[in-house]
Symmetry: C2
Subunit: 231 residues, 2 copies
Amino acid sequence: MLTLQGRPQALGQMTTPGHAPAPREGDPLQALANRARYADGQAIFMAGDEAVDCFKVVKGAVRLCSLLSDGRRLIAHFLLPGDFFGFKGVAAPSLTAEAIGPVEVTRYPRRAVAALAERDPEIARRLHAMVCRQLTRAEAQLLVLGRMTPPERLAYFLLELAEHGGQELDQGAVLDLPMSRQDIADYLGLTIETVSRTFTLLKRKGLLALPRQQHVLLRDPDALRDLAAGD
Amino acid sequence: MLTLQGRPQALGQMTTPGHAPAPREGDPLQALANRARYADGQAIFMAGDEAVDCFKVVKGAVRLCSLLSDGRRLIAHFLLPGDFFGFKGVAAPSLTAEAIGPVEVTRYPRRAVAALAERDPEIARRLHAMVCRQLTRAEAQLLVLGRMTPPERLAYFLLELAEHGGQELDQGAVLDLPMSRQDIADYLGLTIETVSRTFTLLKRKGLLALPRQQHVLLRDPDALRDLAAGD
DNA sequence: CGGATACTTGAATGTAATCAATCACAGTGG
DNA sequence: CCACTGTGATTGATTACATTCAAGTATCCG
C-alpha cells in the first residue's frame, strides 16, 4: 500500500558533469544556473522570506524544516545531490532550507525560471510534474508520521534514502547517512533516543548493521520493505 | 510560525450557481464539467487505480486517505464544497477518495483537462498554483502529525475548518463538523478516545463549546490560534 | 418510543519521552 | 604517535501520556 517513490524530485536527466559551469545546450533551465556554497548549518533560505531563487543540490545534503517557537522541529524533506528545491509556487517558502555539512548548489533566479516557464510549456510541465511528485511524497509521509511505529518509520527512511541512489540494494547496499541522529529524529517525528534504540533493535533482528555511525548496511532489504509497508 | 491557509485549494472564483448544469462562459474548465453523486462511504476513486477524472466538491464532504493492510488509516485531506481534488499529475492517485455522507461533485474528464491545460497557459497556471497550495498545506500538516500535542492538533483542525468558510470567527462562530470523531482521529493521527478527551479538555478550559456533537462553538479563537501555532 | 450507532468517560496498560549516565569517535595539541 | 577534549550516539532507569480495553451515555433515525 505504501509505495516508495524513487528519486523524488528529479526534474530531468541533467547529469551535471562535475564542476563544469558552462550551460548545457539541451536544457534551457541550465542556462540560468549559477553556483553557490553554504557551510554546515547555514540557512539557504528562511520560511517567510521572499523567495528569490530556486536550487538544485550538487554536493552535500540539505534539510527543509519547520520550527515551532519552543524549539520543536520537523524536517519535511532531505535533499540530496540531484534534488531540486525551492521551486514551489511564487510566494514565500513555508519551510527553511539549511545546509547539512558543506553544500554546493546550483541556483536559478526565480524570475528567470518563471519567465522561462511562460515561454516554454515543456519547462512548465517539468516544474508541474516536480511539484506533483513532492506532493505525493509528502502525502506518504503523513501516513508515516501519523500512523507508523518507530521501526516502521526508520525502515521507511532508510529505504527512501537507499532508493534515492537508485542502486540495487538486494546485495547488502551500504548506505551513507549525511545527517545526524537528531535530524533523523526530527524527520521521523521521534526523539534521538528512540531513533538510537530503534537502530539497535533492527540490528539485533539482523535487518541491518552499523559498521560506522554514519554507515548503514542493509542486511535484509525485503524484511525492511515489509516493515516500511506496515504489514 | 504555523500559518493556516484559507481556502486551501480554491482554483478560481467559480461561484457555481446552485444546480445550473450549463457551462459558464468565463471559465473554459467549466465547459468540461458534469455532475455526479456518491453515497456515504462510497469510494470516488481508489489509490492505485488509473485516474480518469478530476473533481470539485459541490455539496457534502470528501476524505482523501491512505490505508495500511492491518487497518490503520490516515486521512490526508478533507475536501469541502468549493475544493478541487484528483488534479495531481497524470499518474494513478496515491490516495483513496471517499464520500462523507451524501456527496455531490463536479467531474472533469482528466484527458480533457490535460488537453485544455496544453492549449491554455492560464489554466495550466491555475492547476499548478493549486498543487503548490496543496503541497504547502501538506507540509504544515507534517509538523502537526510529527510534533504537536493532541490539543494543538485539534485546535489546528478546528481553525483550518473554520477558515475554510472564510467567515470571521471572532464572534464565536459555530462550526459544523461533517465528519465523525473517527475521521478526525485519523486526520490528526490520534485515537477516537483521545479526540473525545481533547474536546472535553478544551471545553473545560472554555475555548469551545459543543452544543451538539457535530457543532462546535469557538469561544476563544485567539487562544485556539495560540494553541494551533504551538507557542 | 425503541433500537442502533456514535460519542464520552473510566481504569489499566504499554510505549515513547524524559532524565541521566556512559560510551565512541573525531579533532586538537602536546 | 598518543593522551586529551568535546561532541554525538548509545544505553539505562523512570516518568508521562496516549492507547487499549471496558462500560456508560447521548444522539440520531426509524
